[in-house]
Symmetry: C2
Subunit: 211 residues, 2 copies
C-alpha cells in the first residue's frame, strides 16, 4: 500500500540511466500536470532524453506513464510489524493517509489513480502495482494466523482491502477528506472482522489465494 514510487537506488549502465531519467521525469510531470496534460515532448525536455528514444522505447505518453507506474513495484517496501494485526494495518493506513494528504507528496499518487480512469495501460500498471503490494501486505495476516489472533484460512488480501478501502473511499469517492484517526478506525474494523472469521473461505470470504 505505501506507495513511494520514485527514489530507489538502482544500479545500471547508460541504458538504465536513460530509463530512469525518462521515467523519473514522467513521474514528476504526472504529479505536476496530471495525465491529461502529459506529453512525450515535455518528458524529453525535462529528462534530457531525446524524443526519438522515448517514442522508440515507450511509444507514447501512455506507455511512459504505464512504465513509470510499474517502477513502484521495484521499490523496497514491507508491511510494518507492530505485534498485532490491528497495529500493522493501522501503520499501513497511517502511511497511506500521510502519503495521500501531504502537499508536495500527494500529487503523484493522486495523479496515478486519476490517470487510470483515462488510460487502460495506466489502469493495468496500477493493478500490477497493487498485486505486488497485496502480496507484501499478506505477511501481516500470516503473522496474525501464527499468533492465533485470527483463524487459519483468513484471506490476507480481504483484510487489507477492508482496512484501506475506507481511506480511498473518503479521498476519492465521498471526497470528505481523511485523518489519522480515520486510519485507525478502518484498521480496527478490518482486524475485528478478521478475528470474527469473516475472511475465511468457509464464512463467506473469498477462497482465492493472496494475489
Amino acid at each position: 500500500m505505501a506507495t513511494e514510487i520514485s527514489g530507489t537506488k538502482r544500479p545500471g549502465g547508460r541504458t538504465e540511466r536513460t530509463r530512469l531519467a525518462a521515467l523519473d521525469a514522467t513521474l514528476a510531470l504526472l504529479g505536476e500536470r496530471g495525465y491529461a496534460e502529459l506529453t512525450v515532448e515535455a518528458v524529453a525536455e525535462r529528462s534530457g532524453v531525446h524524443k526519438t528514444t522515448l517514442y522508440r522505447r515507450w511509444e507514447s505518453a501512455e506507455g511512459l506513464v504505464a512504465a513509470a507506474l510499474l517502477m513502484g513495484a521495484e521499490q523496497e517496501w514491507a508491511v510494518p510489524d507492530t505485534g498485532s494485526l490491528e497495529g500493522d494495518l493501522r501503520a499501513v493506513n497511517l502511511e497511506l493517509v500521510r502519503y495521500f494528504t501531504t502537499p508536495g507528496e500527494r500529487e503523484l499518487p493522486t495523479a496515478s489513480i486519476s490517470a487510470a480512469f483515462l488510460s487502460p495501460r495506466a489502469a493495468e500498471a496500477l493493478r500490477e502495482f497493487y498485486v505486488d503490494r497485496h502480496a507484501r501486505s499478506a505477511a501481516a495476516v500470516t503473522r496474525a494466523i501464527e499468533r492465533g489472533e485470527v483463524p487459519p484460512g483468513t484471506d490476507p488480501v480481504e483484510a487489507v482491502r477492508v482496512a484501506c478501502g475506507p481511506i480511498f473511499y473518503r479521498l476519492f469517492v465521498s471526497r470528505e477528506g481523511v485523518t489519522p484517526a480515520d486510519a485507525g478506525v478502518a484498521a480496527a474494523a478490518a482486524a475485528a472482522a478478521a478475528k470474527a472469521g469473516v475472511f475465511t473461505a468457509t464464512n463467506g470470504g473469498t477462497a482465492s489465494p493472496p494475489a
Copy 2:
C-alpha cells in the same frame, strides 16, 4: 450509495424543463465522453438549449457538470430493509456493484468519480451527493441499534464506509474488478466490526453525528 442520477419524474414549467434538458444532456455526454471532452457547445447541441442560456446559467462545462451531479441528491432512494445490518449493507453493495459494472450503465457514475479529479466543483458536488446518501444509509444502522444488533452510539456512516470502501477500492484503486461475492464479504466485515463495537465513540470510532 446507490447512485441512479437521472430519471426521476420532476414537474415544472419551462425554466425547469430547460434545466432538466441541459443537465440530462450533460450527464449523457459525461457518460459518453468523460469530463475532459465535455464542452458547453456539445451540451447545447444535445439538449437544444441555446449556448447563451447555458453560459448565463451555469458559466462553464464545469458548472454544468457540478449541477448535473447534484441532481443525484434529488433522487428518491432509501437503504433496503432486509431485517439485518449485514443484509442491508449487502443489498446496498450489490446495487453498487451492479451499477458500477453493467456496461451501458457504469459509464456515468465512473465518469462522475473521474471528473472529481479534474474539477474542484465536480468534487464538491460528489461530496454533497455522498453526504445525502450517507444520511439516508444511516437508517440501516439506526434499525440495527433498535434491534440490539449493534451497540448504541455506533457511527452509522463509518459502517457504511467500511462496507462500500472495498468495492470502490477494487474498482478504482487496485483495479482488480469486483463481483457480487465481494459485495457480500465487505458487508459482512462492516457488520462484524459494528457488532464488535468498533464504530462507537468509546472504542476508537468517530464521535461525529451521521452526515
